[in-house]
Structure formats: C-alpha cells, structure tokens
Subunit: 245 residues, 2 copies
C-alpha cells in the first residue's frame, strides 16, 4: 500500500482555507491541519475551523495559541473598531486597520515547525493576491521569500530535502475560489469570514472580509449559505452597496 | 532633544541574549525586549530574562506565549531526556534532540510583528554560528533570508523603509561573547543557560548548553558566577570533561 504524502494545511475557518484544504485533499495529501488562537476578538473562526476539518474527515487538527495581541494597533486583536462599508477604492488602497502585523509570517513559521516535527515537506496556505485586502503578507514575492527562508531555517537545509509552500489560490479571484470549492464539495455554510460578528457569530455583511466574500458569491453566481445581520442576504445577484443598514 | 532609535531585542534569559541586549543599549537604541513562553520544560529562563532586562533598565519587556509544545520530538518542550556530557565530536555533528523545530523563525516572526506594531526597524537576536550546537536556524544564510522575507512581509516592503536583523554575535566564539559582555558590564550571574536545571533552577553543568557556557568562561579566563550541581564549578581553568558526575 502506498503511503500518502502528508501536508500541513493552515485552516483559519474562512472560505479560502476551507477551499485550500479541499484542494490539498484532492491532490492526495494526508492532512495535518493547524489553526491559531492568536488573541482574535472572537472565537467563531476557530469553531468554523473545527467544523471545516471535521466535514472533510481531517482528524489531525491542532490549535496553536500565540499571543499576537501583544501587538498594538490591529482591529482584529485590539479594541479598535472594524471599518464597515468601505468602498472598493478604499479597500484597494493602503494597509487596513484589520492588518495584524506579520500574521502570515508567524502562522507560516509555526506551521513550518509543525511540518518539520512530523516530517512533512509540503505546506498549504490560502493567501490570495487578487482580492487580498491590501495585506503585504499575501503577495507572491512574500511567499517565495518565505519558502527560501524556510529551507534554510530547518533540517531541510541541512539534510537536502525541499520544503514547498503551496498557495493554490494566490492568483484566483474570490469568485474563482468559490467556484473551485463548490466543484470540490466544500460546504461554505461551515465557514466564517466576518471580522465583526455579533455575539451569536452572525456576520455583519459590511466589513472588508464580508464584502469581498459577498461579492465573490455574486460574481460566481452562487448563494452564500451563511447568515448576515440586518436582513442582509448572501443571495446571488444582490449588490453589497444596495444592502440596507 | 534627539529621539533615540528603537530596537526590538529577543531576550531568552541566556548568556548570548544578555550580551546582545547590552550591545544594543551601547549602540544607543531604546529597547523593546521580548521573551517567549513557548512551552519550555522549565521557567527559569523567563525569570532570568526578567532579571536581565531589569538589570539593564529595560522596562518595556513583553512575554509572548506561543505553544510550540504542539511540536513533537524536542527535548526542550517534550518529555524527552536532555543529553548530558556529550563530547565535542558529538556536539559538532548533526542536529541535537534539543532542537525545537523552526524556533528562531517563530521567535523572529513574532518579534517582527512587535517591531512593526511599534514602528521599529531594527531587530536584535543573539544567534551564533560558531558555538551553535548544530541548529540550522543559527546560520548567517538563514538570518539573511529571514531579513529579505521580513522586508516583503510587512509595511516596510510597501512603504519603502528597511528592516534590519542585527546579529552582533554571529561570528564570535562563546569566549569572545563573554569578554564582550564583561566589558559592557553584563552580570552573567543573572542569566540561565541550562537545558536541564534541577527544581531550584540550579544548572546541570553537563548538557550541551552548560558545556558550551563553561568552556566559554574557561577560554575567556573568566569566572562563571552561576551555580552548578554536584559540586561542579564555573571557575576558570577547570575542564568540563574532568568534572565529576
């Protein structure tokens, strides 16, 4: 019996990483999933990560705590309001307040340590350079530099094997990602994207992450199965800018 | 009044990082110190880190928790015996069981996030490629690759300033480091290096870290002010290999 290749997959509980998990499985990898408890303001994405893993039969799922809330200035880990209803021009310029400094670097580094500890040479992360909200650590040049560094940081560099950071979504639009995930059977109803959910975990529909998600479903002519506040709907065809407050 | 440049300094509580802290201060940097609670088997190095910072007047010191004990296979974070009394040939070949996968990558990544969040472009870390115990993430090529990656991962890459990873110890022997620290007034009695201290924090004198430290003090013709178990002594001139069990 052939032993399947193993991969470490970063699973945030969001739409992108759920799709990446499905892609890695489709490619035949046995999965070590890792999520991060990084001091985020809410726990809904960790609950979503667990649901997503379970739905894809991934039993090897660890949650690593890392206190990035020691950093100041991010709306995702500090008491700073998440912006709502920014328009596309606002979203496409500059680094937003939801940026957590070096987050992908930190998450990939910890995933790298996990990979090394379980003898895995393949890492998967759902970064995306198209609908990417302006984060510097979602760009292909960052990923390439991380991979180079990772191969020097670990046994790989000493023992002569090669670590690869797979970013299957990097050049896809959000609509492409959703289409890809739907063909792979991803249940997006299990995922959580909102930066600013209410106390029950219902998404706001207005933060950058919700807006990118809703636009992605519209452009993919698909229905977003999650609930939104204030009667907003993820139904295909409705414009985010026409939604009522 | 001129505002001092600020630096983030990784402070483990060990001899090397105490020296780096003194060097960064001597260079005129105001210090943001960071230490890591990473699931290590004992807390003595965190206590030492706090003592070292206090002794150098560094009040801005954060401890970041990161659960690298999710990784298997390291004697520093798992229930695996720390090797004692390895000889120089054993120490100079291969990656030892005390290696924590990707540890410096993870620590530098978190320090990078802190640096970015407080607007700092200079990071200091006490890695050393001479008496380095065989860890791949202590090599100059790793540090260079990390710096390249860091400049792409953060606002630096977007906003056009440059992050520098300073490694003032990288080409020094342990004896050189100790001599340098002594001229800068470092109190090595506050530091902790042992991988396998007893319940009171007294160092074993036999693990790789103790052996490198003791040899460093001998070669620097200096006295190691910390206590060792079993009547071992850090007095100058005594050979580690002659010490009694």
């Amino acid at each position: 019996m052939e032993v399947p290749l193993k991969a470490v997959v970063l699973v945030s509980g969001g739409l992108d990483s759920a799709t990446v998990l499905a892609i890695a499985r489709k490619q035949g990898f046995a999965i070590h999933a890792i999520s991060f408890d990084y001091g985020q303001r809410h726990r809904f994405e960790l609950l979503a990560a667990a649901r997503v893993c379970k739905s894809m039969g991934v039993s090897d799922h660890v949650v690593c705590r890392v206190d990035t809330n020691i950093f100041r200035g991010s709306a995702l880990t500090n008491d700073i309001p998440v912006p709502h209803n920014r328009n596309e021009t606002e979203m496409s310029h500059g680094i937003p307040v939801t940026y957590v400094p070096a987050r992908n670097t930190i998450f990939l580094s910890i995933a790298l340590g996990l990979a090394e500890s379980v003898g895995v040479n393949d890492l998967f992360i759902g970064v995306n350079a198209v609908d990417y909200s302006g984060y510097p650590d979602c760009r292909p040049e960052f990923i390439a530099a991380f991979e180079t560094m990772a191969n020097l940081a670990t046994r790989a560099g000493v023992e002569g094997h090669h670590l690869t950071v797979h970013t299957p979504l990097i050049s896809l639009t959000k609509a492409d990602i959703i289409r890809r995930g739907l063909t792979l059977g991803v249940d997006y109803g299990l995922t959580h994207s909102c930066y600013d959910p209410d106390a029950s975990g219902v998404s706001c529909g207005e933060c950058d992450s919700c807006q990118l998600r809703l636009r992605g479903f519209r452009e993919a002519n698909a229905v977003d199965p999650i609930r939104y506040r204030s009667g907003q709907s993820g139904q295909s065809g409705q414009s985010g800018h026409e939604r009522k407050q």
